[in-house]
Symmetry: C2
Subunit: 311 residues, 2 copies
């Protein structure tokens, strides 16, 4: 069994109050793949240019990620993003975006990538996401991320694509914008009416919420004293969440299992923000993942006891 | 045993996308008292004017709240606030504030109010909060709320007052502003260094976080399809949280108990926002409270199971 992710591969330049990096490995497919690599073999599908070298491949290979479907566009340059975070790390400012080879990207999936049983359509143009979805006809669980750009410029196509997947993972503000429902519970219900049986609303530093036919599940973010760089946290969340799903057979895929998947997503995202770019997750161990899941369970659980209430 | 709350008693005019009220019972002490009344006898200390009548007293008395220390200022008018919420109910706009009798308020506590074993200093001027704290010398648990106005105009006094209480309950943005620490975990640690052993950061529609010497506890807000009016939610949270503490002897007051108190705070706040002002909590039953605490436990709990992770 394996996971396929289709999305961006990038170089990021990031400035935060805690330091800066001029050129570091990034992109949604990369962050997702490193996080999901704790659970299953991951195939990355995305384009790079001549500036993408052995050093970058090595980071992915070191975690067992399959890079055969990384498409090297000769004469091109890799997608580049430059951004800045202030003291409130929830707010970021994009200073420069150079699409480069990502601008002309048409996903080409090998037989191996197409036959994955779990697929993550990271944030790319929704028509392309739908093409990929159609190619992965054997997949038992397909999840999709998107962004305000597509909500605002390609909403109909995005809704059509959402109708072809099992799980929608979006920031909560985007979910409300997409569905035109200011209330999150109603927004999730509307999105579920379009097709997916699972809706995950990412809430940044506040955590994440999940809606399935069995109901709601909410989980705070893991509390951290030191947050260095939030770039890629959402994709690491998706990697932990979907990786956990991929590690279990279809018969076990119920609400309870998805709640646990939320915990793994939360933990992978929390490690990601502890250092720049992929640096923390690239050196993460499976013991660290397990320990933090145990901690997360402890710090989010209360045990009800009867109390005499006055009417 | 009993609880004393010192704070505002008000008439609120509120406009939301779901309707409006021109004049409804409100104020921090009122919202707190109604929520805490499910757990213990509550003494309300606060000023009202000639416009505060039997109808308003009746709402409090119907829930067993002791109104003996509500100070009727002859010839005065009750505190009045007018505000408006947009589609995003997390954002509110104040249109009018008339302090009236609240502007000259000097809390006068009867022997009964002074001898309460649990005290909530709702959001009033920090010097006054300290005066009240000094009068309640027998109290075993004193909690305090504040707001950006006092952080910006009376920070030193507020920090001194915080040094005299057991528990600080603030909005997370205010806690970060007060401590000048953008990171919530560090902000809570700094506030604990000033004295209180319990810090609660309210996060609006996202839930609440608690910090004690035994660690962190995080709880999402109860998911609601229908939110009519968020006014008073924070004070109802405090009422549920502190009321739960009051209902238990000091010997049981550990981290576990405070986690359960967070659940009751969350549930009381969730009911409060389902209707205008105090309307929902005034007709709430203890069975409804218990049921929602059970629901909250179910929708925030995940059960860890071992999974084979790849290193």
């Amino acid at each position: 069994m394996s996971v396929t992710v289709v999305g961006s591969i990038a170089f990021d330049a990031v400035m935060t109050p805690f330091g800066a990096r001029e050129r570091m490995l990034g992109g949604s497919a990369v962050h997702f793949a490193l996080a999901a690599s704790f659970f299953d073999t991951v195939h990355v599908v995305g384009p790079v240019g001549d500036d993408f070298g052995e050093q970058e491949y090595a980071v992915l290979r070191a975690r067992g990620v399959n890079v055969d479907d990384i498409e090297h566009v000769r004469g091109g340059r890799t997608f580049f993003w430059r951004g800045e975070y202030g003291w409130d790390l929830n707010e970021r400012r994009t200073l420069d975006t150079q699409l480069n080879v990502f601008g002309e990207f048409r996903p080409k999936l090998s037989e191996h990538s197409r036959s994955a049983d779990v697929v993550f359509l990271a944030n790319i143009q929704p028509d392309l996401q739908r093409e990929v979805r159609a190619q992965c006809s054997a997949a038992r669980f397909v999840a999709l991320d998107s962004m305000n750009l597509w909500i605002e410029t390609a909403r109909d196509s995005l809704i059509e694509t959402i109708g072809c997947v099992d799980c929608l993972i979006l920031n909560d503000a985007e979910l409300r914008e997409l569905t035109r429902e200011p209330n999150l519970v109603r927004a999730a219900r509307r999105a579920r009416d379009w097709g997916p049986r699972v809706i995950v609303a990412k809430q940044g530093a506040y955590g994440a919420a999940m809606f399935t036919d069995e109901g709601f599940f909410g989980l705070p973010a893991f509390p951290l004293e030191t947050v260095i760089d939030p770039t890629g946290a959402g994709d690491c969340f998706a990697g932990g969440f979907i990786g956990y799903v991929a590690a279990h057979p279809d018969g076990e895929l119920d609400h309870e299992l998805l709640c646990r998947a939320m915990a793994y997503g939360t933990v992978l995202a929390s490690y990601n923000v502890e250092d720049f770019g992929v640096e923390r997750v690239a050196r993460l161990t499976s013991d660290e993942v397990s320990e933090r899941v145990t901690d997360l369970q402890r710090i989010t659980r209360f045990i009800e006891k009867p109390v005499a209430l006055r009417n």
